[in-house]
Symmetry: D2
Subunit: 334 residues, 4 copies
């Protein structure tokens, strides 16, 4: 990903929502309702994901205070009349609700606790919402924010760049329940589903559980399809049977890993695009950590982790995670 994009959004969710999508037109209504009294919102991290998210806040009438390590990516916002700050600390000085969308734990440390970080100038009662995907950092930033009298929430996001643009992201939110409404008001400008999950960190936990189950059912689908094909079944027919049956899952009915019979999915595009094998391996590492700290047995989750780790070392690291079908399939007769 080009450096000029600034902070990239950590879009490691790949959630496709079956729910109602935001209807065209409702936006105007929402905007007009609350345009009057809007206080500025801070937004830090204007990468692939953050950029369209910030624009959706603008559309809803929120004045923005922006920051990104790459000043270039703030240009178009400046031209549109928004304020650009010179540091996260300055954002914290000028806004009492701040959203961060950062690519890595290291960035999160710097943005929150760095020499010019948010926590240097954060005001009491400010609301800090982190939509990145960094489990350990959440805890630390949460505690440090609390010490400063601020309110911290984790709100990892699902849905990819397309959903970010159309305002159809999903947010899983962890934090103090009393403050949820304040966060929801902002997040609903950017997403069609905003789910309250519980204490700080639970938003992240929900995402990790989903991605672990996703990895397991994707590998399972690949194994079952491969076994069926080798037993003489037509893949399209087999998928149809599974999808009418108890084997049905998102990986079989929406994102089938077998090339050639489903349109618009990575398997039909040489496993390009989508959710990379490396990212899945990373998320399964988080699941592993979480399972170890809670003493939870995850037999299949743990093996799925190892399988994606193997794939990363065999040339699949940049392919979509559904390429596990190809990995299992590449057989020579013996």
């Amino acid at each position: 990903m080009a450096a000029s994009l600034g902070f990239r959004g950590a879009a490691s969710g790949l959630w496709y929502w079956s729910g109602r999508r935001r209807p065209v037109g409702s936006l105007a209504a929402v905007c007009s309702r609350s345009m009057a009294s809007k206080t500025p919102v801070g937004f830090i991290g204007l990468g692939n994901m953050g950029n369209p998210m910030a624009k959706n806040l603008m559309k809803h009438g929120y004045p923005l205070i922006l920051y990104d390590v790459f000043p270039d990516v703030c240009k178009e916002f400046k031209e549109a009349g928004e304020q650009v700050a010179s540091s996260p600390a300055e954002v914290a000085e000028k806004a009492d609700r701040i959203i961060t969308m950062l690519p890595s734990s290291m960035n999160a440390v710097e943005v929150y606790s760095g020499a010019n970080g948010i926590l240097k100038k954060v005001k009491k009662g400010s609301l800090l919402i982190d939509s990145s995907t960094m489990i350990l950092q959440f805890q630390k930033n949460g505690k440090r924010s609390e010490k400063m009298g601020a309110v911290f929430m984790d709100a990892p996001v699902s849905g990819g760049v397309g959903a970010a643009r159309s305002g159809n992201l999903t947010f899983m939110v962890g934090g103090v329940e009393d403050e949820f409404a304040a966060a929801q008001e902002l997040l609903e400008c950017m997403g069609s589903n905003v789910v309250y999950c519980g204490a700080v960190g639970t938003g992240q936990s929900a995402q990790i559980c989903n991605n672990m189950l996703l990895a397991i059912s994707m590998i399972g689908t690949a194994e079952a399809m491969n076994l069926g094909i080798r037993s003489g079944l037509d893949p399209k027919l087999l998928a149809k049977i599974l999808n009418m049956s108890s084997g049905r899952c998102w990986s079989s009915d929406t994102y089938n890993p077998v090339p050639g019979f489903m349109h618009g999915v990575p398997s039909s595009n040489n496993y390009q695009g989508g959710f990379g094998t490396t990212l899945m391996a990373k998320d399964l590492g988080l699941a592993q950590d979480s399972a170890t700290s809670t003493k939870t047995p995850i037999l299949l989750g743990s093996l799925a982790h190892q399988i994606y780790r193997m794939m990363c070392s065999k040339g699949y690291s940049k392919k979509d995670f559904s390429s596990v079908f190809q990995y299992l399939r590449e057989e020579e007769p013996f």
Copy 2:
């Protein structure tokens, strides 16, 4: 299972169809259309599954020639005017379409190749449809039937006793395509989905693939739900999130293994009823065999097999297979 039930149907499918169910009333229409010229159909094995299946054939106006090793189970059919034969051979003499629904390979050997078996008297061109679940026997009975000039099809059934009663079973059919229409005519009296899968044995293969994927996604769901709960998430909320997301599967949205928030599923009834752990272990053994003979790697399928085998030895053998959640959950703090 009580001996008086005679042959039990091998209902190891647990397919729940999302498709259109047979509307009440359509039955009459179907019956009247074809009542006129119906030739008798043989039916061997009148257990839990076979009994209601045979009744559905009757409702559609087919005269039956029945046989079961336990003569008692034929009584009610006799009283309703159907013929009861004294052996499978006699059935083969009197009917040229025969359906078998048998509980084990041993029964299948006897019924087909025994001293008074079908193949002793089968007529050239007869159609033999076996709805049992016995992979190896299919091949043998298929070949022997062919030698005798008969047509053999495997048509394993999915949907359980309820679906057998309501005529909403699903049949996955393997056999010569030209003869499929003839089988379909009968099977549609008993099921709402009749899917042609390919050559003899492919019906069975499709069912095995489905059940393997089912086992994998059920264990995966149990692991993910358990991990989430231990991380502080409410189970009902977590299920809702998964079901809106890419982790969604039949095991999470229709048959959730966590007790307490979904009605009418075994998990809310102390894991009674449903599809037993022992049967799932057996089906995974068939998947293992099939994978070995086709050299297919099934890493998760193979581990799922071992997990269900462990459960069978820890007191879960008669519980529904979703009790894997309980198996993983039963933790003492340490």
Copy 3:
């Protein structure tokens, strides 16, 4: 393996015995002791393994009646004065102790139950010793032999071609205990360890258990060595530490899979020679079958099976099974 070798011995054992080896010279003593009264011994299957085994019987003074599907391989025995038969049946007519060393189940069926098979002419009380590796066939041939009044034993062999030549094979013998002494007399001409295991089939079972444990500890050694090396440890030092410690195993101290510091093992010869990955995958399939039929949970054994199956499809099929280290190692940074 060249077709001209005739039946290949099924040397899928790879047992290296730490015990006392047959001292040079002892042979003469053994020979002189029993030379006088020796009755002919039948030997069927003169491949890589069978050829040197038969020669060791000759050295001990046993007249042989030989058979192989490839008559050429019998030539040198004929020139040395031994009888060559035209079929297994003829061997059975002329010898009342017969050893078979066959490469596959199909060969075993033909040799025992074929049109000119042993069982056509076997004499009552004859002793049939099968040193091949074919679990199911053992049972069948055992039963059929018994029906004919003959005694059947399975005596799978371990130690490879080198051990076959030097008369240092190990035999694990299953069969009626009363007849063990008769088998032992012959087997000790070819092996330095002849272990009585129990009823027919237990020789085979012992070999399967050993090979399953071998596969598990080999993969475990490869994982541990790889993890250590990636953590900055010198491989030779790590091996030394393991071998002084509780992680010690045959795979770490005698057959280390890491290239470069142990001489005379496949890992130092680009994984050439040794015991092929395909054969290991086959033996693990037998373990899987055995576990399924005895309802034994084999979690690691089952996963080891899948790992060797994957390797077979990734170009490792002809390499030694210790190449699993290379398979795990081939990592690109990511």
Copy 4:
């Protein structure tokens, strides 16, 4: 473990060394050689392991400066004339070689970096040797020590309480090579094997690799023994066969998990004593972390981790880790 024991030694090693044991008598020689010029050695943590280790240093003539959070455990040392300090900082002031033997990461943080920790008063050039088992803390304490001008080494210990008493422990040492001799001088008073492994942390890595391989081969042995027994083999005979063969490992020949035929091992004492399942699960968690950070695939290691985690929740947490045989064995017929 009773609180009065003070710091418990983190004896998670279970290494049994085949090497030469310290001969009786050599002790005197060592002592006299260096008695003259001995400077005091600091020792922090006098639990099960630390207590006999410190005593062995005393026997070799080293004056000690002792500390434990539970002052009672220092009494007998005080009575024997050794100095007891009131904090780790005081130890650091008075000694320039300090050995720490602590039960958990939390203790290590406090002892090194706490308000009265070692690093408050450590002298330039001091040698700090940590024999605990806490992978992450090693790195941090190492770096902090270095900042203060001190030299840090990790020297995890193997061999259990018996070996601690007899001075037959093994130390795997990680740290700057130039300083190894200084550490070795002390460690050889307490152990018969002192192995230099490389940079800081490699001592710990070696121990983790060993224990992971140990877990894998123990489970593998349990599976193979169980499979053999269920196939009709006598366990003692099977163990003998494995131990003569390529399946041989420490778990099969020295610590066999099957009760009844090997003396002095936990399996013959209802799995009491030995190395607890919980500790093995903990060490496998460290292996998992290490594998994740080095991107090493550990398929069997990862599954072994989950198996020991399952066992912890099924009442095996306090049994010896060889009880995995019992866990797999507890089968009801089905």
